[in-house]
Symmetry: C2
Subunit: 255 residues, 2 copies
C-alpha cells in the first residue's frame, strides 16, 4: 500500500507511533529529539515533522517550554473516546441506511459479516483466527463509512481511531485474557453487526444509529471489566498511555 519508497518522514512517523503504542515511551515523558534521531535513524528535520503529526493525532502534547511529551489519558478520556467513536459510527450507520445504493452496494458489508460468522462456527473456534477477526471487524467498520459517503465524517473517524484504545477491536485481546475465550464477546458483537446490517438494508436510519451506538457501548463495558481486573490494561493497545488513579506525577515516571 506504499506506492512510493518509504520516505524518511514516514519511517519516523511509523517508528515513533509504534514506540508509543508498544509502551517504549512512557506517558508523560518528555521526548529528546537527539535521542530519537539515534533510535530511529533519521535526521532531525523529518523527525520534527513526525512529532508534529503525532501531536495532531493526539498521541503527543507540545510543552509550553518547547518540545513534546507522550500524552497521558485518564480513564474518563478513554471512555469518552470510545463514546465518540460510537457517535461517529452511529452517524455513519444512519447515513449508510439513507444513502446506500441498494443490495449490490451492500455486498461487501454482507460478505464481511458472513466471513465473521464463519469464524464463529463451533468447529472453527481457534486462536489462529484472532488476527483475522480483528482485520475483518475493522474492515466491517470502515465499510460502514464508505457507504455513508461523507468525507468529513470519515476524516473525523480516522482521527478518532488515532487513539489506539478507541479502535473497534481494541478490547478483544483484553476480553480474551479475562475470560479465556473471545467467543462470547465476539458473538455478541456479531449479533449487533447483523442487527445493524438489517437496519441499513431496510433504510431505517434511526435504528441503525441506535444499534451502532449500542455496539460501541459494548467496548465501554469491556473497559469497565478490564478496570476491575489487575493489569488487564496491559493487554490493551496503547494501555501504557492510560494513567490510573489520580496522580499524574506517578505516571510521568519519577522513579
Amino acid at each position: 500500500m506504499s506506492p512510493r519508497p518509504i520516505s524518511q518522514g514516514l519511517a519516523a512517523t511509523l517508528g515513533l507511533r509504534q514506540m508509543i503504542i508498544d509502551g517504549e515511551l512512557v506517558a508523560g515523558d518528555r521526548l529528546s529529539e537527539l535521542a530519537l534521531v539515534q533510535r530511529l535513524g533519521v535526521s532531525r528535520t523529518p523527525l520534527r515533522l513526525s512529532l508534529a503529526q503525532l501531536e495532531h493525532e493526539g498521541l503527543l502534547e507540545s510543552l509550553p517550554a518547547g518540545g513534546f511529551a507522550v500524552r497521558a489519558f485518564s480513564i474518563q478520556q478513554v471512555a469518552d473516546a470510545i463514546d465518540l467513536r460510537g457517535v461517529l459510527e452511529g452517524s455513519a450507520a444512519r447515513l449508510a441506511a439513507l444513502r446506500h445504493g441498494g443490495l449490490p452496494d451492500l455486498a461487501e458489508l454482507v460478505g464481511l459479516a458472513a466471513q465473521i460468522d464463519r469464524l464463529l462456527l463451533p468447529d472453527r473456534a481457534g486462536v489462529d483466527d484472532f488476527g483475522l477477526y480483528v482485520e475483518l471487524n475493522e474492515r466491517f467498520h470502515n465499510e460502514l463509512f464508505r457507504l455513508a459517503c461523507s468525507d468529513p465524517l470519515s476524516d473525523a473517524y480516522q482521527r478518532a481511531l488515532a487513539l489506539p484504545f478507541a479502535a473497534p477491536s481494541a478490547f478483544i485481546a483484553v476480553q480474551t485474557d479475562l475470560s479465556g475465550s473471545w467467543y462470547e464477546t465476539v458473538a455478541l458483537a456479531q449479533q449487533q453487526h447483523r442487527e445493524l446490517l438489517e437496519a441499513i438494508e431496510l433504510r431505517d436510519g434511526a435504528r441503525a444509529e441506535l444499534v451502532a451506538r449500542e455496539h460501541a457501548s459494548l467496548a465501554r463495558s469491556n473497559l469497565d471489566d478490564a478496570l476491575r481486573a489487575e493489569h488487564a490494561l496491559d493487554k490493551l493497545p496503547g494501555g501504557t498511555l492510560i494513567r490510573l488513579g489520580g496522580d499524574a506525577a506517578e505516571a510521568a515516571g519519577v522513579g
Copy 2:
C-alpha cells in the same frame, strides 16, 4: 491570546490560513514553497511545518508528486461538514444535559443566551452588533462543549471547525446579504438556543441532542438558500474553496 512571542511557525500558520480563507490562494492550486517564503517572510523549515499542519486541518492536500495544493470542496462535502458539526454538537448537548453541575454551572450559558437576547431587542437592531453576535454565538457553542466535559469530543469539534464554512456563524453574513437583515435568521437560531438550554437544564439528553441537530440543520438550509442565489457563496468564509458545478473529479481528492 499569545503569552509567548509569536514564533515563526505560528506566524506562517496564521498567515497561510488567512491567505486560504481570504481566497488569495485558489482551490486546486499547487503551492510553491519559495513563493510563500517570500510572501510570508519566514524560512522554509517553519513554513513546511505549517503546510503539514494545514493539511491535517483539511485546508490543504498533499500531492502524490510532493508538495501541497489548496483543497477544493464539493457542495456535498460542505453539507456533510455541517452535518458533522450538528452530530458533534448534538452529542455535546446530550452530555452537557447529563453532566452539568447544576444551575451555577450553567450560568455562563444562560448569560450568553441573555446577551444574545438583548442584541435582538427591536431598539438594538443595528449592523454594529453583527460581529458581537458572531462572537457570542461561538462562545455559546463552545460553552456547550465545556459543559460536556469530553476532551475527545471537544477535539473533534475543534477539528471540524477548521473548515471555515462549517463554523456556527458561517452563514450569518450570507443570510444578511440575501435577505437584507440578519434578524430573522438569528431570531430562529436564538429560539433554538433557548430550547436547547431548557432541555439541558431539565437533563433531557435526548431532546437536547435533537434540538442541537436541528440547530445545525438550519445552517444546511441556509446553504441551500445561498446556492439558489448567484455569488452568495462569496460572502461565506472560505467560500472560494467550494467547487461548484460538475467537475467532481477535482473535488473528490480526499484521503
